[in-house]
Structures are given as C-alpha cells and as structure tokens.
C-alpha cells in the first residue's frame, strides 16, 4: 500500500534488511516507483480485499503497514489486518487527527510521514506535553538520549498529552515543511 516517498524507501530498506516484503496498490502504475531490481512481490488491488490480502500472504505476515493517501482506507485495512488476520504488528498512516484518535482507540498506532532525518529527536520534547519515548531503528529500539539524530527509516514514537496533540501536529506540519 503505497505513498511515494515513504513507501519506496521503507520497502527498499526492509528488503535490504532481509525481510520478505509484499506491496499492495490499487494502481498498477505504482510499481514503477520501485527500483527496477526490487525483489518483493507487487499485488494490484484494494488494501482490504480478502482475495488480494490473502494472495499477498497476510495470513503469515509478521507486520502490516497501511500507508495509502486515504485515512479511511488505512483504518479499514489496518483493522482488518489486526483483528481478522491477527497480524502482530500493525501501523497506519493517518493525516486527520480525529481519525488518528479512532485508529488508536482500535489499538492501532498511527504514523506520520514527516522528514525528521538529521534532527535531534529530543528537540521535539516539550516539558509535560510532548516527549519522544522511543526510536525504532532497523528493528531495534533505542531510548532517545540527548544528541541522538534521526536517521532515514527510523520510527519515532511520541508520547503526547491529549491537549498537546494539535500542537505536535502543527509543529510537525509547519516547522518541518511537510
């Protein structure tokens, strides 16, 4: 399931790390954004179609990431992966903060595709409101010590008070120019 910058990089990195990666996209043309030698399977179809998901091997998947440009489609496919197919790790990319709440209530962490590379992750901390609690890099978790720089492909987890969610959203949108 694909959004250009995020997915091509993520897929390429996962393949480099030796993972078996399968992509689903509604548009057959989306295959073109992958590098020519990309070894992962590509399935054309809907991210919540049973036939497509099962052909892509969801029954044995260890992780599922829903990153289309449509929030609702991501919620539906992520929840299907989590609750119907019991995929252990499920993440969804959600743009709208309200829908991100819906997703979290379903027990699905949401991700935001912003460019943090090269920034000190602790600079996002706001005392009592926003804290970077974890960085997942190449499948390992790091505690965000002072001076740790974000690298391409990192998954940065924030802990945010409900009242500061809008602030974090605005911060990621404006300060980082995404």
């Amino acid at each position: 399931m694909t959004r250009r910058s995020l997915v091509a990089n993520l897929a390429a990195q996962l393949v480099t790390e030796g993972h078996d990666v399968r992509l689903i996209d509604r548009r057959p043309k989306a295959r073109q954004m992958l590098s020519p030698g990309f070894p992962g399977a590509f399935h054309v179809g809907n991210g919540f179609s049973r036939a497509v998901l099962e052909a892509a091997g969801i029954v044995h998947a260890d992780a599922f990431v829903a990153v289309t440009s449509g929030d609702n489609g991501n919620i539906v496919s992520a929840r299907t992966a989590k609750d119907t197919y019991r995929v252990p790790i499920v993440l969804a990319s959600i743009q709208d903060p309200h829908r991100a709440d819906v997703c979290r209530e379903l027990g699905i962490p949401t991700i935001s595709s912003v460019r943090l590379t090269g920034r000190q992750v602790t600079e996002f901390d706001v005392d009592g409101e926003i804290r970077v609690v974890e960085i997942t890099r190449a499948g390992r978790s790091l505690l965000p010590a002072h001076g740790v720089l974000a690298e391409s492909g990192d998954l940065v987890t924030f802990s945010v008070t409900a009242t500061a969610l809008g602030r974090l959203g605005g911060f990621l949108d404006k300060e980082l120019g995404t």
């Binding site: 036939a51 609702n72 709208d96």
Partner: protein, 124 residues
C-alpha cells in the same frame, strides 16, 4: 424516529424522502456542496454539508440523539468508518451501511457496527 443518513446519492436521497414522508426526523449529510445546493428543495429533510466521517460533524448533525444511522456513500471504506463512529462513539441503536463493491461485502458485519444490504452499482 431520528435518522441520520450519510451520503446524498441516489440511494441516500430516496431513503431520506421515504423516511421523511413517514414522519421521521431526517438529517442528510453530504460532502459535495453542489449536491447539497441541488437538494435544497427536498421537503422536510435537514441538509448538512460536510464530511460524515468527521466525528465533530456527526455530533453537530445530531448523531448522539439518533435512533438510526445509514451510511450510503459511494465508498465502502467511508461507510465502514461512519458505521464504526455511529456505533462506538455515538452509541446509535441501529446502524446500516451500503456495500458498493461486492468484494468488500465480507467486511460489513458487527465488527464495524452495523448490518448491511447489498446495493449493486448501476452501470454508468
């Protein structure tokens, strides 16, 4: 009975007309402003312009007090999210959703909050 219908396509509009003629209190939510303007003359139906997948809009449109929510948009993922919000957030007693694509019918069950009826698309 208080009814909220999301999606003022052919199906949503017809149901709105039938239910309002039967003296139900009907609110019809539609994303497309032009379509809302077109339906302005619909008798006894309250029209709300906006995204029915937005919980604030649903609340504003009266979802908390509704007896029945019908998700009749042309997109199955939207109908599923509307059903989920209606059931889980607003505790609506009856929720039903339109299935646009037959291959998505398997998703429409209690997990998303409602019961469903198939509504095949007319060829355009």
């Amino acid at each position: 009975m208080k009814v909220l219908i999301a999606g003022a396509g052919r199906l949503g509009t017809q149901i709105a007309q039938v239910l309002s003629a039967a003296r139900n209190d009907v609110t019809l939510v539609e994303y497309d402003d032009d379509r809302v303007a077109e339906l302005d003359s619909l008798p006894h139906v309250r029209l709300v312009a906006g995204d029915a997948c937005d919980r604030d809009l649903l609340e504003h449109a009266g979802a908390l007090a509704c007896d029945l929510v019908l998700a009749t948009t042309g997109r199955d993922e939207d109908n599923l999210v509307i059903s989920l919000l209606a059931k889980r957030r607003f505790g609506v007693g009856w929720v039903a959703a339109r299935v646009n694509e037959a291959e998505n019918a398997w998703l429409f069950d209690q997990r998303w909050g409602g019961w469903t009826w198939p509504y095949p698309r007319r060829p355009r």
